[in-house]
Amino acid sequence: MSTQQQEPDTDAETEPEEPESQEVPADQEMSGLASPQQQRLQRKHDGMAEREREAAEDDLEGDSVHIKVFRYDPEVEGKQEPRFDDFHVPFERGMTVLDAVIYARDEFDSSLTFRHSCRQAICGSDAFFVNGRQRLGCKTQISELDQPVRIEPLPHQEVVKDLVVDMDHFYDQMHAVEPYFQDEDTPDSADLEEQRQSPENREKIKMSSRCIWCGACMSSCNIAAGDNEYLGPAAINKAYKFAMDDRESEEIKEHRLRIVEQEHGVWRCQTQFSCTEVCPKDIPLTEHIQELKREAVKKNLKFW
């Protein structure tokens, strides 16, 4: 950004994105061996400070939002030690947390890294830890948050870079509950014959089927944080969706219960409810987990 002849919108307030000294080792910029990256940042800093002065003059235009973004990159000198960077983004009506970080990336620092895609709360890419809570960036209005808005990667997951966390473990847990229809005994589709399902039964699994695999719930759960093998709320919810679907046979349902009632399954849940609170799709996760516990107990009682 520093060197290109950027044509900033004249009214866009641009401010230094250089980290505030608070969280940054004080000697960082002092070190004689500044990397090219740091030099660039420095140049950028200078350029921006200048523009900021200009902007301050006709600064009546709109407010800006102050965001503090977690930065970390295992490879880049100066980013290996986690820190927060500050950005001041011009506020616009309807601006979401995702919009703010996109603006910061496109206008200030193109190395700012995060996952995002749909911008409409359906792809589940952009669950961040915003002001102390797991939220979907694209679904969180920035005007509803206290400033500065602190944006971090999801807790309890390995950070790959900046706001990107390693999701592999989450996917493993999702896959561990055998999340697919297993009934081999379906009618021939060439005859266009469907499996019947009552609207009530469909209603029963409706909420559980809304999961977008964002991982917010898993990240919020203390138990999952302490026990890596715990299936976690999302995977259990996935299992719930299948176990409660009447279209599969009783034996398969039992098989499914056996998976979730393992040691690291439903019993791990301590009904902390934080998963339910953070789920952007409003899935009643705790309720589903509790129902599976009762189902499992019922099933076990039968064999006593």
Partner: protein
């Protein structure tokens, strides 16, 4: 290097179905996708899947509706295949556990949709695409199909015979987003592109940030023609700040559109005196833009969609999800204030030219889904016809690539001698500034030299890998220049200004110029982020190049097609011209000789010939 029988690029609805199809046909198949499969944009589809399932409906009616909807620019064999296969493929989804909405008797529900003569849109709540995507991903997990997720496919490994019809695709080259390593994926039987739409060519779109037309651009550069790219569907009610879609349901229930002066412009300015807000998508989109262009827009940008008069009870009952969308994505409470809306790019009808089996003119290269153009949507896609396209043609492409015999295709592909060619004077020749290229790899475009030297699979792959590695090195090492975000913004702005729902010759030429400037600017592009780890800067820089190529094909098509058909409106000739334009526009990039040519539409179906009629509903 990785090696599989079939490589599927992209894991949206089309890619997943293709992989399952190939797997069913016994192939060792792998998917390479820049997003984890469940993140694909198919998940955003709400409406439903058209399939003739019920008594009183049949595939011929579906085919007829689709042909009419396409404004007679769809190919009959493609449309009929879609209509014939959709029912069985939809039921297959049901058997895989897709949670369709249900009737009291336990059968799947269907609802009416615009342009359909029978309520045949099968749906799963207001999140059909989400369920479709997840159900198919579940089947992929079940089958243990290998998924390389967060691998960005950069290029195709295609031999370089002079005539694209003689070339063969042997695999792809991709880089691992997490680690930055560039690797080859060898495909022994075929490569299937299923990379979705190119909505990001516009700055206001319902499409995801990942919809950058990568597949289109890669195929285009390898010599496959782009078909009917000028047909871009715009949706009239999207939220201004994000492009999130506000469904037609609001207007269906009685929502009203107002301009800045509080006028109900659909009537007061005479855009649609009968249907008002309920006129078809393109009419409403054009009306909104006319208002804004004439200074009657709010904040010079949008109009208001007001549903307050419906009463909170009715709104909460039928349109609750709209309230959430407006609240979450625009910060507006639809119960107390009107919602801002404006038209946004929604769907690309055109794409990689394929036949009914998904095959392109290059041997071993297939395409399916929104990136492909078998030509079922023609000039205008009917709501609910894209999802069946994904499953029907995804599956066919998968099976065909894996060696299943699906019979001889009726649709021809590839340029051949004797086709009608366009000789219009263009303000610039499309190729003048070369393919959007980084300075380093100017002439090394796969197909560019057309020397026919390389034909053995490994050689082709190795060369492509080397090229792509060099490209990455070059971009990473270059220390200054221009950044992709600036080029992309400029391109998107030009497209939205001049290749939007209003198209004039002057505007299109202006856009073409800007695109060319973007090409030139791209030669000086560099990547600022020095890291190999999850470098989205690098990824987006490569995507921008693809956007430039795709934007150009859209603009070229729009410029030559001087008529008003379906979604394509031209100021100079505001009516359909069957005499001259019952034909597909094709843009080929081949050996440095980009050209525009035409192929007649196939209107002869299995049992009847479709007669172009006036499209009125």
């Amino acid at each position: 290097m990785y090696e599989h029988d079939v490589i599927v690029v992209g894991a949206g609805g089309a890619g997943l179905r293709a992989a399952i199809g190939a797997h069913e046909a016994g192939a060792d198949v792998a998917m390479v996708t820049k997003l984890h499969p469940v993140r694909s944009h198919t998940g955003a589809a709400e409406g439903g899947i058209n399939a003739a399932l019920r008594e009183g409906d049949d595939w011929e009616l579906h085919a007829y509706d689709t042909m009419k909807g396409s404004d007679y620019l769809g190919d009959a064999p493609a449309i009929e295949t879609l209509a014939q296969d959709a029912p069985e493929d939809t039921i297959t989804l049901e058997h895989w556990g897709m949670p369709f909405s249900r009737e009291d008797d336990g059968t799947v529900s269907q609802r009416p949709f615009g342009g359909l003569s029978f309520p045949r849109t099968t749906y799963a709540g207001a999140e059909t695409g989400h369920h479709l995507l997840h159900t198919m991903y579940e089947q992929v997990v079940k089958r243990g199909i290998q998924v390389y997720d967060e691998w960005y496919v950069m290029n195709l490994a295609v031999t370089d015979e002079p005539d694209p019809n003689d070339r063969t695709c042997h695999g792809v080259v991709a880089y691992d987003v997490q680690s930055g390593t560039v690797e080859g994926f060898k495909a022994n039987q075929g490569v299937i592109l299923a990379t979705g739409g190119p909505g990001q060519a516009f700055d206001h779109t319902t499409n995801a940030v990942s919809c950058t037309g990568d597949g289109n651009a890669m195929a285009y550069r390898a010599g496959v023609p782009m078909e009917d790219m000028e047909f871009v569907q715009f949706h009239p009610t999207t939220l201004p700040s994000t492009g999130v879609l506000i469904s037609e349901g609001v207007r269906g229930e009685g929502g009203i559109l107002y301009n800045e002066g509080g006028e109900r412009f659909m009537f007061e300015h005479g855009y649609a005196n009968n249907d008002g807000e309920l006129a078809s998508r393109d009419v409403v989109s054009r009306a909104e833009l006319t208002e804004v262009n004439n200074g009657r827009g709010i904040e010079d940008e949008y109009v208001h969609l007001d549903m307050r008069h419906l009463g909170s009870e009715r709104i909460l009952d039928r349109l609750e999800n709209i309230l959430h969308l407006a609240e979450d994505f625009e910060g507006v409470d639809g119960l107390v204030e009107p919602m801002p809306v404006k038209p946004g790019q929604h769907y690309e009808m055109g794409g990689i030219e394929t036949d009914e089996n998904g095959a392109t003119c290059i041997d071993g290269l297939y395409a399916a889904g929104e990136c492909a153009c078998v030509s079922v949507h023609g000039a205008n896609r009917l709501g609910g016809n894209a999802l069946p396209e994904l499953i029907v043609f995804g599956k066919r492409a998968g099976r065909h690539a894996a060696g299943d015999d699906l019979g001889e295709a009726e649709i021809e592909t590839g340029y051949s001698e004797g086709v009608e060619e366009e000789d219009m004077e263009l303000p610039i020749t499309p190729g003048e500034a070369g393919i959007a290229e980084t300075g380093a790899t100017d002439t090394e475009d796969v197909a560019a030299d057309g020397s026919g030297q390389l034909s053995d699979p490994d050689g082709v792959l190795d060369r492509t890998i080397t090229e792509e590695r060099e490209r990455v090195e070059y971009l990473m090492e270059k220390d200054d220049g221009i950044q992709h975000a600036e080029i992309r913004a400029k391109l998107q702005k030009a497209m939205t200004e001049d290749v939007n729902v209003f198209r004039t010759e002057a505007g299109l030429k202006r856009a073409l110029k800007t695109i060319r400037e973007c090409r030139e600017a791209y030669r000086d592009v560099y990547v600022d982020d020095p890291s190999r780890t999850f470098n989205t800067d690098l990824q987006m820089t490569i995507e921008t190049r693809n956007l430039i190529d795709v934007a150009e094909t859209i603009t070229l098509g729009a410029l030559v097609r001087n008529e008003f058909r379906g979604a394509h409106w031209r100021q100079e000739k505001q009516e359909r011209d069957d005499e001259n334009w019952l034909k597909h526009t094709l843009v080929s990039w081949n050996g440095g000789k980009p050209s525009i040519w035409y192929r007649p539409v196939i209107l002869e179906g299995e049992n009847k010939t479709y007669e172009p009629k006036v499209r009125s509903y």
